[in-house]
């Protein structure tokens, strides 16, 4: 808790920070408030998914990927963050009717709140693949310093998508359900539990157009191979994310004038 400040600009930024913090903390508290396991829940889900994929890879698909537990856990974590944040952000406006109607409440903060809350789950679970990696004899390299950048890109990607989806959801209330279906498809088209190099060349283009492919590849490069991520792809991703965020924010701002009427 900091001291009061005189400058209105400083106060404004401080206020936005505090608002974000309160709303994120509320989100987290509510998720774990009345459960015995608490924060462990956010680990159990990806752990179980990982176990399923390990079973599949050994007994059904016979995928031959080194460090498979870390490999799949990294993919599952990044994907879970993506999927749950997209779904949650879509409902960020329709689910907070009373806040939108309050004088002075900045509606644009709501998608940031949901993406941030999901980022925190991601960060809490992140030590797990590292643990697997170290147990499996791997080692960390300096490449890990680029990890925050990749996380930032995923954050901004989610925010851009979130602004678009939240605005559309206000008019079409089934957006969230349709996105749920679409995300199941996208999950299989994203190399979460397999390696994209096994896909034949003709279909590679679909992977290159999928930002989650680049993100998961970058995570794996840093965490598992200990290499720097491919900077060309990262740069292209940065441009894409920037444009998407601008577009999302523009659409959201234009739509926000009608939020009060349509909620």
């Amino acid at each position: 808790m900091r001291n009061p400040v005189a400058s209105p600009h400083v106060r404004k930024s401080l206020y936005i920070y505090d608002l974000l913090r309160e709303l994120v903390v509320r989100d987290m508290k509510l998720r774990y408030k009345r459960s015995v396991l608490g924060i462990v829940w956010s680990l159990l889900n990806p752990l179980f998914q990982m176990l399923v994929f390990i079973f599949l890879s050994h007994r059904v698909l016979s995928l031959d990927i080194p460090n498979y537990p870390s490999f799949v856990f990294t993919g599952v974590l990044a994907w879970s963050w993506f999927q749950s944040a997209v779904i949650a952000t879509t409902g960020a406006i329709t689910g907070n009717r009373e806040l939108i109607k309050r004088p002075g409440f900045p509606a644009a903060i709501l998608p940031v709140v949901t993406v941030t809350a999901n980022l925190i789950h991601f960060l809490l679970a992140l030590p797990v693949p590292l643990l697997f990696l170290l147990l499996g004899g791997g080692r960390l390299t300096g490449a890990i310093l680029t990890l925050p950048l990749v996380i930032l890109f995923q954050f901004l990607l989610l925010l851009g998508l979130g602004y678009l989806a939240a605005a559309v959801q206000v008019t079409f209330r089934d957006t969230q359900h349709l996105l749920g279906v679409f995300l199941i498809l996208l999950f299989y088209l994203t190399p979460v539990f397999y390696d994209a190099s096994v896909v034949s060349g003709r279909y590679q283009i679909f992977y290159y157009l999928n930002p989650m492919f680049h993100l998961i590849t970058a995570y794996r490069a840093i965490l598992i191979q200990g290499n720097l991520p491919d900077l060309r792809f990262l740069l292209a991703l940065g441009v894409f994310v920037g444009v998407l965020l601008w577009l999302g924010r523009t659409v959201f701002t234009r739509a926000s004038y009608r939020f009060v009427e349509e909620l």
């Binding site: 808790m1 505090d18 004088p103 009060v260």
Partner: protein, 430 residues
């Protein structure tokens, strides 16, 4: 004078959609082009149309009007919620709102956690909430429950907590939708006291209410909306009284707004619902401010006598009307307000033209700019027949070195201090 709120030519429309407008993407896909056409609004209706007014800092304005007149829309637009279609709204100062009090409350969190969330949503930083925390809990009278989950609170307790947070946000402009029926009578009293305190502290308040009585009691000015249009904006008791009169079917009559602009003998324009209010069943034809010698004046020395001659016309017999006179300062402060009724003068039924004169033997006001407001009222004060507001200016000449409101007859006198000169300091008086 700087204004706290300026509303200029404000218009806001809402879209009304086709009854079978698709609300899901699935429907849009299934119905193809025909469905897409149905997305566009069927029509627009104007919730507010060309509304202009301004509020000086520290004033309390009541917004009245029937349901659907646009009161809440106006309040939200002042608060920056939604965007006007035309015109603009300026609000100078931090806005607080007694609307949606429990916004952000969650039943599973404790009272303490909810105070922080609600306080931050209401516009405070965490530090500011922490500093006010004890005062908030004390005001809500919930000390012993504050660490229990909100779901264990009664509805009244939750409302109290919401109100307590809202009144501790330190707003410069406060927006209130309906006088709040919060908790028990004792707590309601506390809320009203708190609102009165806000007013005393010079904060600007806009109150939307159906209750014209509370508007008359609490507000300085009232703003009357009808189907999104501004009908009248002026002194709360007059506008609210006129609204009540129009609302009661037996006194509903021709629209006064159709009357032409009239000029007074001093050249001031009389414009219905701007500086002239009332049903016009009985009219003030002329008002003359006269000095001792009977000459019309616009300037006086403090302590001079003043005569106010009111010429009226009652086309139909009017039973026992009440004549009222108010001397108010330029900024709206009422310096003196009296009426025939207050002076124990009961008038008979009047019919046709006539004149009534009001004598003030000494006008003991401090120098400055004043207005003499004149009105004729229904015998039960139900509404005004005719009321001229801020039409007749009166300047009391400045004397210099004096401040305040009153300037009673006075003089200084000093005892002969020469006897005690040796032991006491003296005060020079000139």
């Amino acid at each position: 004078m700087p204004k706290a709120i300026i509303v200029q030519n404000l218009s806001k429309s809402f879209r009304r959609y086709h009854a079978d407008r698709p609300t899901t993407l699935k429907e849009v896909l299934l119905r193809g082009l025909r469905g897409l056409r149905r997305i566009a609004p069927a029509e627009r209706f104007w919730a507010l149309r060309d509304v202009s007014f301004s509020v000086a800092p520290g004033r309390m304005v009541g917004v009245i009007g029937p349901n659907g007149a646009g009161k809440s829309t106006l309040l939200r637009l002042i608060g920056g919620v939604g965007r006007p279609d035309q015109g603009n709204v300026e609000a100078h100062g931090r806005i607080g709102a007694l609307l949606d009090l429990g916004a952000g409350f969650h039943p599973d969190l404790t009272g303490r956690e909810n105070v922080f969330i609600n306080g931050v949503i209401a516009g405070l930083t965490r530090y500011e909430v922490a500093r006010r925390f004890d005062a908030i809990v004390d005001f809500a009278e919930l000390e012993t429950f504050i660490d229990n989950p909100l779901r264990t609170y009664s509805t009244g307790m939750q409302m109290r907590l919401g109100f307590a947070v809202a009144v501790h946000t330190d707003p410069e402009i406060l927006l209130i939708d309906e006088i709040l029926a919060v908790g028990d009578l004792v707590f309601q009293r506390k809320c009203l006291d708190r609102i009165a305190q806000f007013k005393d502290e010079g904060r600007t308040i806009v109150l939307v209410s159906h209750d014209t009585n509370s508007i008359q009691q609490l507000c300085d000015e009232a703003l009357w909306l009808r189907r999104g249009k501004l009908v009248a904006y002026g002194p709360a008791d007059v506008v609210a009284g006129q609204y009540v009169a129009e609302m009661s079917a037996e006194t509903r009559r021709r629209t006064p707004a159709a009357r032409p602009v009239v000029r007074t003998s001093t050249g001031a324009e009389l414009q219905v619902n701007e500086n002239r209010f009332g049903s016009m069943e009985m009219e003030i034809v002329a008002v003359r401010l006269l000095d001792l010698a009977g000459f019309p004046v616009t300037e006086l020395d403090s302590g001079d006598p003043l005569r106010v001659e009111i010429e009226y016309l009652a086309p139909d017999p009017i039973p026992e009307p009440i004549f009222g006179i108010t001397v108010s300062r330029e900024d709206g402060l009422v310096c003196y307000d009296t009426s025939t009724e207050a002076s124990g003068t009961h008038l008979p039924t009047v019919h046709g033209p006539g004149q009534i004169t009001f004598h003030i033997d000494r006008l003991d006001l401090i120098g400055g700019q004043y207005y003499v407001d004149v009105g004729i009222y229904e015998r039960e004060w139900a509404y005004a027949y005719d009321y001229h507001w801020h039409v007749y200016p009166l300047i009391v000449r400045l004397t210099g070195g004096e401040k305040g409101i009153l300037r009673p007859p006075h003089r200084w006198e000093m005892e002969d201090v020469s006897v005690r000169h040796a032991s006491l300091p003296t005060f020079e008086v000139s």
